[in-house]
């Protein structure tokens, strides 16, 4: 564990060359470190998402959490998130572009070991799965990403392609973390996702926890499940350690 870290909000280049906010946490070490893009959940670029970035830095990763609603600001993150929700969210194309920009930023740092992973929670989990199919990352972690499987009538101009249909293009190993009491995704949907990954010969690991539902890492919510969360975090770090060269 690396006790010293730097953590701050910076500007990075995202989709369409736009400058967006990002929370960047990295360990103070002279050794090359792998990077992780952290995808915040739909409620917004919140304190917990930044805690995740700092947790990753503590474990030796340069972590960056791009503010996916940045263009709707300036303002408090929760006001900006509410404005994003009111307009139906942001497009998958923009999320891909912003995340690609964040990954490029990490790789461009002198301290980078050249490897970048991605981790996302809730809507961010869905986005992590998508990014494994859309951009060059070395590992992807999907924590309870809902709406990976959707019916055609659920597609929108913002999200025109079902993420499950992107699976043939998946080019990174995938770790999935799910609670068996979750309703979105429910166990049947996770089963179908796993079947698709197997059918297409993709490299993946799924861990599914009894007694846990959606968002069971959240320490400030009734959904928190400490035993399951501690175990799942060890899986995350083992997975990143294996694939990001740490």
């Amino acid at each position: 564990m690396l006790e010293g870290m730097l953590a701050e909000t910076i500007g990075i280049t995202g989709h369409n060359g736009d400058t967006i906010q990002a929370y960047y946490a990295r360990p103070m070490t002279a050794d090359p470190v792998p990077g992780v893009v952290v995808l915040h959940h739909m409620p917004g670029w919140d304190e917990w998402s930044k805690e995740v970035a700092r947790k990753l830095a503590y474990h030796g990763y340069a972590a960056i959490c791009p503010h996916l609603y940045s263009r709707l600001g300036p303002g408090r993150w929760e006001d900006v998130a509410a404005a994003a929700r009111a307009q139906g969210g942001v497009s998958d194309a923009q999320v891909v572009g912003d995340s690609a920009g964040a990954a490029a930023f990490l790789r461009a740092q002198p301290s980078s070991n050249g490897k970048v992973g991605v981790i996302g929670f809730c809507s961010g989990g869905r986005q992590a799965y998508m990014l494994a199919c859309r951009i060059a990352v070395d590992a992807a972690v999907d924590c309870w990403g809902g709406a990976v499987i959707v019916s055609p009538d659920q597609l929108t101009p913002q999200r025109p392609v079902a993420v499950i249909d992107m699976t043939p293009e998946m080019r990174a190993p995938l770790l999935g973390i799910f609670g068996n009491d979750d309703a979105n995704p429910d166990p049947a949907q996770v089963n179908r996702t796993e079947e698709e990954l197997k059918r297409l010969g993709k490299q993946y690991e799924f861990y599914r926890y009894d007694g846990a539902g959606h968002g069971f890492f959240a320490v400030d919510r009734p959904s928190y499940r400490p035993q399951q969360a501690v175990d799942a975090w060890t899986r995350v770090f083992a997975f990143f350690g294996k694939h990001l060269g740490k």
């Binding site: 303002g75 509410a82 968002g215 009734p222």
Partner: protein, 93 residues
Amino acid sequence: MCTYIVEKAEINGHGKGTADWIRLTRANVYYDHPASAPFDHALIVDFADPSAGPGARISVELSAESAQALVQAIQAALASGQAQHDLVAMGRT
């Protein structure tokens, strides 16, 4: 007409306001993960003026039970004689 009639609802939730009075032109209502209230999900109402930017927002995050109690209180207040008179005048009943 002035009265001391107040419909009260016991609620559980969090709210965020603004420094002063603002115009409101939109109410966004949804049941989803809250930003502040310590629930997995909440009934959230954003009273906003989108033309004035994201900060022009007064938000309440309530438990589902609280939201039901609030709905009942609102309906009780609107059942008053004066409210019914105004709604009829607006063509809303």
